[in-house]
């Protein structure tokens, strides 16, 4: 697979591939990195937002 890197387009067989995830109440995140000789040459991230705070409780006035 060809990967866009800071060095240009490279075949991933030449690169070290690292991935990671974060999963909490706010988000589910995955990241993928490619390294060349100890240098980070590509990093992409996909954040999925889960549940956002509600704006406010709206209430009609009492008389």
């Amino acid at each position: 697979m060809i990967v866009t890197t800071t060095k240009g387009e490279m075949d991933d067989s030449l690169l070290e591939h690292r991935t990671g995830t974060v999963d909490n109440d706010n988000e589910a995140t995955t990241w993928t990195e490619y390294w060349l000789d100890g240098e980070l040459v590509h990093r992409s991230v996909h954040v999925t937002l889960k549940k956002m705070p509600i704006f406010a409780g709206a209430e009609a006035a009492s008389f």
């Binding site: 890197t5 992409s44 991230v45 996909h46 999925t48 704006f55 409780g57 009609a60």
Partner: protein, 158 residues
Amino acid sequence: MANTQSMCTSFMGELLTATHNFGTAPIRAATTADTFKAALYLSSATINAATTVYSSTGEVTGTNYTAGGVTVTNGTAPIATNSSATAGVAYWTPSASFVYTTVTLSTAFDTVLLYNSTQSNKAVSVHTFGSQTITAGTFTLTMPSNTTTTALLRLSTT
């Protein structure tokens, strides 16, 4: 039958479509949806509930990132639904992910500002996530499900 005091759920939904105007501005001539955009901000920025308008101060900069961010895909109109005589919710979620393609954003960022570019870049909402950097890659921000409990923007009586 009995009457029940409550905000009307339809009203909350109509707030999301600018049907009601208790003030004097703006004058809305168009009946089409406004254009909304999504800008990314550095972890060191100060973007919060007091933010009133998009600003480039504290916004990310980097290769292939355009100041102001990306245009939000708005393919689904706001929905207003009742769950009881006293409870309802109006909600809306962008219909596609925010995608920043082949960018390099070397300084950590953790926030996206949703704003209305049609209405003088007025701020809508601020959403935070874990701090990130991008290197010759793509940053994709996928929206929560467009439901009464998880939608990106929700107005609720409860």
